[in-house]
């Protein structure tokens, strides 16, 4: 399905990442937005509030982040593509209902423009310390899909993808911007509507009275019904059977929750995206994402000047994690160097996938700024000396 031209503002723009994400959402068909002001994500909400009246969207500023996430889940069941945007403290508040979205299998998009934390932290300054929260933030077992753009252009592109994946797998999808990408202004090219693929909602065509909200096929993703279509279905955050009825039993839990996880995991190859450069044959592979991926490439250039064989691995999606490829590379290289603006999060994920077959080193940053390329270089040099 192609994008609705009504929402696509084709052209070349000079936009920040927040506004580019907003344009991506509108291009992908988002027509319901609920949000609550929080730096550094607010520009996205402001932009949508300006654009929506002309494209037929509903913008509402809710009383808090909990209301915002819950409203977008409700809107999804009312038939809209919906989104909210926030930052660290807001994501923390939203977490319970991100779990609800996962449990009800609600397509929706949550953008987190990461800032320095914990707590109020550094509202106007960059951080990347919410990546594990994105994966594990809500209680219980579930999987999530998360994108990490490194530029305003990707903020647009990845937000479109986020909507598509949300529909395809009926799951909340996160766009993990960071403050630097969110606030940075750069050239953004928005293609014509007929060049933007939009995933249609998986609506059921079951006869009335025969629809089972959580019956599924090989792809493990149930077809959806929206309120008002006449199916008179029930959904609940309780553990439920294929009718959507609550059933508090080990048997039902075992029927439901492993599938919620498996529907994402078994399609990881379809979802996972990464960029790789000279990783094969390298001694050291730098793993990074978001704004840190850009900075890392400066360090890689410096290392190559020193004659070190350095490869580069950039996560476009952070979740699901590209386990297979990291495990393969681990067999061939001396060390991974993980560059991220936190004190070690994706680092542990890389280390887990490397299974001790190579060194995994961290180039940390507590947040508020980006790495000094020279600091990354030092870690690369250390990695090159690993056995």
């Amino acid at each position: 399905m192609k994008a609705d031209p009504v929402g696509v503002r084709t052209g070349t723009f000079y936009l920040d990442g927040d506004r580019a994400a907003a344009e991506g959402a509108i291009a992908a068909g988002c027509r319901f937005f609920a949000g609550y002001p929080i730096t550094p994500s607010t520009e996205c909400a402001e932009h949508i509030s300006e654009r929506f009246p002309e494209v037929g969207g509903i913008f509402i500023q809710m009383e808090d982040e909990i209301a915002s996430i819950t409203a977008i889940i409700g809107a999804a069941w009312g038939g809209a593509r919906s989104m909210t945007v926030t930052s660290g403290p807001g994501v923390s508040l939203m977490m319970e209902n991100i779990g609800l979205a996962a449990m009800l299998e609600t397509p929706c998009v949550v953008a987190n423009v990461q800032r320095g934390g914990p707590s109020t932290g550094l509202p106007t300054m960059v951080g990347q310390a919410d990546v594990m929260q994105a994966r594990w933030g809500s209680h219980g077992d579930y999987e999530i899909i998360a994108y990490s753009p490194q530029s305003p252009q990707e903020a647009f592109d990845f937000t479109v993808k986020a909507f598509n994946m949300a529909e395809k797998y009926r799951t909340p999808v996160m766009v993990l911007l960071d403050e630097c990408v969110g606030h940075m202004v750069e050239k953004v090219v928005i293609p014509p509507a007929d060049a933007i693929e939009v995933e249609p909602r998986r609506l059921t065509d079951a006869a009335k009275g025969e629809y089972l909200p959580y019956a599924y096929g090989d792809d493990l993703v149930p077809d959806m019904a929206e309120a008002g279509m006449g199916y008179r279905f029930h959904v609940t955050g309780l553990t439920h059977d294929e009718r959507g009825y609550p059933e508090m039993s080990v048997r039902c839990q075992d029927w439901l929750v492993p599938r919620l996880v498996a529907k994402i995991r078994q399609s990881a190859d379809d979802i996972v995206e990464f960029d790789e450069e000279n990783a094969d044959g390298a001694d050291v592979v730098v793993v990074s994402y978001g704004i840190s991926a850009r900075v890392s490439r400066m360090a890689i250039d410096l290392a190559r000047e020193e004659g070190i064989e350095v490869g580069f691995f950039r996560l476009r999606t952070i979740w699901p994690f590209p386990e297979k490829r990291i495990a393969e590379l681990a067999k061939k290289i001396k060390a991974f160097v993980v560059v991220e603006i936190n004190l070690g999060q994706i680092f542990y994920e890389v280390e887990r996938c490397a299974r001790g077959q190579c060194e995994t080193l961290l180039s940390p940053h507590a947040g508020g700024g980006v790495h000094d390329p020279e600091d990354i270089l030092k870690v690369i040099e250390k990695g090159a000396k690993a056995k």
Partner: protein, 195 residues
Amino acid sequence: MRREIRITGFGGQGVILSGVIVGKAASIYDEKNATMSQSYGPEARGSACSTQILVDDKEILYPYIRESDVLVAMSQEGYTKFLGELKADGVLIYDEDLVNPGEIKKGIKAYPIKAQRIAETDLGRKIVTNIVILGFMTAVTKAVPKEAMVEAIKTSVPKGTIELNLKAFERGYDAFREGAGEQVEEGSGARSGAE
């Protein structure tokens, strides 16, 4: 070649818009890459406000200024705050009615301009001070082609004010005389620039 430009002033002087215009001119109306970032929070509301523009032929990997090539100062506070990051042979552009540069280090090329005065008296609108100084900067640094700057102004300022802004830009551009603003002699205080 990467060029790092800092524009600083008070909140309300149009500092951020200036950054957008330079970045847009370089990346959309010229064939370069350009990122623009701005200062946030209380800084943008009345006190020192700044924007950083990075212009490069290649993709911009490092998103912040490390050592600026150009510092454009429209306030004393901004000047004091950001002078330290200016390269030893960097270009300093300042409004001489608003900024007292004190002793300027040898090697720095300083170009004063009475931008606000030009805006107020010649153009009748204080609000275009930033565009006057952008015109001047364009002439001084040649960081971005003049034509690109003109296009960027046309698409960035409110529709009814395009003519006024273009006039302001030309006025600032013309205020630069070739050969002016040679390297400042240490302690000489001799500054030749526009008016």
